[in-house]
Amino acid sequence: MHEFGIAETIVQTALDAARAHGAARVDVVRVRIGDLSGVVEEALRFAFESIADGTPAGGARLEIERAPVRCYCSSCGVEFATAPLDYQCPACGAISGDVRGGREMDLVSIEVS
């Protein structure tokens, strides 16, 4: 439901960066979205297209890279990649309450021309 707000930040940041680099338009926008971010990809794409329309980012390609959930197991001292609801260390079976990745919502890069 908050994908529109996120898309607004994406488009605004991309337009500001493009302008700062003297570019006329934004062709590609790359974001990294964590599996625990609560962001729905289709909703984000729809919001992005709607908001970018009519701006120099109109028609830009949105590339979404997923970031897996990463937990830290304090007994084993290791970090492991997993999925939402599965916070169990594959080595020792302990449940980790220390999630270190998966909530990302990052604007990684843009391509401009």
Binding site: L36, L85, D98, S109, S113
Partner: protein, 257 residues
């Protein structure tokens, strides 16, 4: 495909070559595409304001709680019951977010605490900026515990740090057992989960063991409380949890209520 104009020439292509196709636009070969690395969090602004709020709370010795739930789980009822029970022990205040109406703020004021209403309009969550403004409205009133009642929604509030010390998810037996499985993001980093309306558990056929197993899997670091805000069942453990985290002010002894 050529990145530049969408023609079928492989990219990157040498310039100065013959073009055997028409262009509908000026073909300026100085205008190459370039990548700009940004690597910035889309939540950066909210997170920065949340850190300011956290500093404010820490500086004033305020225990701030962010209460999230689906609509109708009983956040307001839980806060009301807590305000009434602990009024002689702590100075408490509330910030309450709703899409519309100030009904909840009225209820909380009636329970004896200052209540700042944030009416979010179409926005489905509170953010750190809204809370910052509400704190201005709260002024200099001394506060030990601040309850921030979020907009009823199990999705969006999970992304917005408000600067709170504790995130509390309130759920209720009438919502069934699988809410934690359906909304993993909001449960995962909860410090406490309060299961409300246990007085209705039998009436709605609540499968307690299944529900607790789901909660433990989805909210691995949360303390669990089974309560009824209406009857008061289980509230003692919840109050003890608040006492554990609330600031101690030995210089200001209070009279027993």
């Amino acid at each position: 495909m050529c990145d530049h104009c969408g023609c079928s020439t492989p990219a990157p292509h040498a310039h100065g070559h013959a073009h055997d196709h028409d262009h509908s636009h000026a073909h300026d070969h100085d205008e190459e595409r370039k990548t700009i690395a940004l690597h910035q969090s889309l939540m950066a602004k909210n997170d920065r304001l949340a850190e300011q709020n956290r500093g404010f709370f820490k500086g004033r010795g305020i225990l701030a709680l962010n209460l999230v739930s689906s609509p109708g789980s009983g956040k307001t009822a839980l806060i009301e019951a807590t305000l009434r029970a602990l009024k002689d022990e702590f100075r408490m205040a509330t910030i309450v977010g709703d899409l519309a109406t100030d009904n909840d703020a009225r209820r909380l004021r009636a329970a004896g605490a200052p209540a700042i209403q944030i009416t979010t309009g179409a926005v489905c969550h509170l953010d750190a900026h809204m809370v910052q403004h509400a704190l201005e409205d709260l002024g200099d009133a001394p506060v030990d515990i601040l309850f921030i009642e979020n907009v009823g929604n199990l999705v969006c509030p999970s992304s917005f740090d408000l600067g709170e010390r504790l995130r509390v998810v309130v759920t209720s037996v009438t919502e069934g057992e699988d809410k934690p499985l359906k909304y993993p993001a909001i449960f995962q980093n909860a410090d406490a989960v309060v299961v409300n309306k246990i007085d209705l558990a039998d009436a709605v056929g609540f499968a307690r063991e299944t529900a607790l197993a789901n909660l433990k899997a989805a909210a691995p670091r949360a303390r669990l409380f089974e309560i009824s805000a209406r009857t008061g069942a289980g509230l003692d453990a919840w109050h003890a949890f608040l006492r554990e985290h609330a600031p101690r002010r030995p210089a200001q002894p209070r009279e027993a209520g």
